[in-house]
Symmetry: T
């Protein structure tokens, strides 16, 4: 981080596989519409349950990206 | 929630009538510009006072919507 | 509260009508299976959205009840 | 809010009817002894239970008022 | 979530392998004694250390399940 | 803590004497109906006042116990 | 608590002896100038150290009292 | 802090100049009506915006003062 | 605040000079792309260190703006 | 506190007797290796249970000490 | 935990692979310079992003270790 | 931040002048005894009052530094 201005947006990724994969899904999707994505912060980890097993992990991230000068 | 990616945006609705109406105002306004609004979370409830009575309820929501695939 | 021991249990009530009705639903249901329900604390207020309107209010309560001596 | 100094005081209103009415009770009472009440913030919502129903809603507010210059 | 009433219970799962496995252990155990388990929320992640390595991950979940009507 | 699954339950003990005694009351009562109680965490300490003195200390604990395998 | 309005004020009691005594000091002092003191909530426990021992316990309370009708 | 009892009151200072000046405004005003003001704690920093610039900084403090013996 | 709906967006301003300047940078940048910016709330203050001195202050704000009717 | 710089370190004291004794154990131990210990803040109170009684109180403190000039 | 005194230190581990691996890196490094490391608590999970993917997971832990008697 | 391991330590800086100066005092002091200081996070801002004015600002920071490989 230097002299720039950044914005944080809150994204929820979901995955059947793992917490890390849910994070990747969220970042990949944010990266489609945002430039200069630089960092993320995990805000919440939850999920739903199907037949006594984790159906999806749902991870809420704050994603930080640099605004154009 | 399934395999999708979601975004949360923070909206403040206000109403002279009730907390529920302030929530509805916020959701109705979000729905004008966002597709696939699916849920809300109340973050903060406050208001201002006029002549010793509630002037407006002001309710801050996080509103969750699904991003297009 | 006097010399007794109490327990808190976390219940989520839902209602199409209002936050108060969701609270009442949760308490009524708790009262079916618990004796000596004495107080509640609102932990979280959220809901889901259908067609740009609140579908259900979902209110999480901690419900306190006295344990038998 | 402009160049003034404000004070916040913590008041608990109660009502058999609704959360909004408990808020109004608290503000009306504060307004009896304080001048320039301008806003409120909900800090906590709870209540006690009588016969499996809400007996009273008890809502804790921070009430902000402007101090005389 | 629809018109039903839900309960949340707090369970700690542990695993030598991963955070996800500790979550699965907790859910599997809850599913043995509870019907209609629908979602979980991660409350705390910790663990103990043996010989300079993670001995067990210990993940505290709130597990939400629907109450019978 | 090892490979087991644990549950946390929230209990409020009260005592005219001390915070420690309120904790003991809560644990003693939990121990009557639960097996394998292993630890507690203080969540909240409060009390009511009678004639300008503490009437009862009321201490809310999370009590952790091991579930049967 | 019934249909009344209450106020909470934040008081710090200190004691060389114990946490309970610091609570008692705060309540006794509040009781000198306030009527209808009904409950307290512990907000913070700290103290200072003298010669490697606790010099004073300093306990911050919210003290709740009923306002005159 | 020694054997005394203290009270905390919540004051909001505002200033066009800086956060420090808003703190000073709050303390100066509290000092007009309170004796033995000893410390402050910053609770919240916010402000409003006029023409794309900070209009006022608004800083909420808890101000601690010693009660007369 | 009156009958309108508002949105909050999270912006990080940075500055070599001061916390206030970092706040101003964030607001000035938000004002370029948003209409009706009305208030801000400081969420987090941090920074990085270069040669044993503050390199940049980095201040995260929630910025509130009124949505067009 | 004057013009000095202080450091906080996090220590967990344990005691079979009381919360105060656990605090004293932590401070006594910190005082063995640190100079100028001046204050403490209670961060967490917990303990483990043996045979339906408190085995040990475990109190986590932040301990503040002045750094040499 | 028994009659001992413990210390907690805050360490940030980073890893390109997973959250678990970042935890292991932090613990392994702490174990090089500390004796009797016994447990960890996850305080924060974040990371930075490179080319639309997670570059590193960065996990902040509190690491608890027993002090020599 | 890259593949390294970092440590956070909690330091309180004080200054008669400003919040920024208190931050600088804390960092300068930390830099005397620590290598590779890279960032800080403000945890708490408080101060004491002398003659109705700020005597000292006291700012608690978490200071992050890279551990030697």
């Amino acid at each position: 981080m230097s002299d720039h201005v950044y914005k944080k947006t809150e994204i929820v990724g979901s995955s059947k596989i793992s917490i890390e994969d849910a994070i990747q899904q969220a970042i990949a999707r944010a990266d489609e519409s945002l430039k200069h994505v630089e960092w993320f912060e995990v805000v919440e980890t939850r999920g739903h349950v199907v037949d006594g097993k984790v159906g999806h992990y749902q991870v809420t991230l704050k994603i930080g990206f640099r605004l154009n000068d």
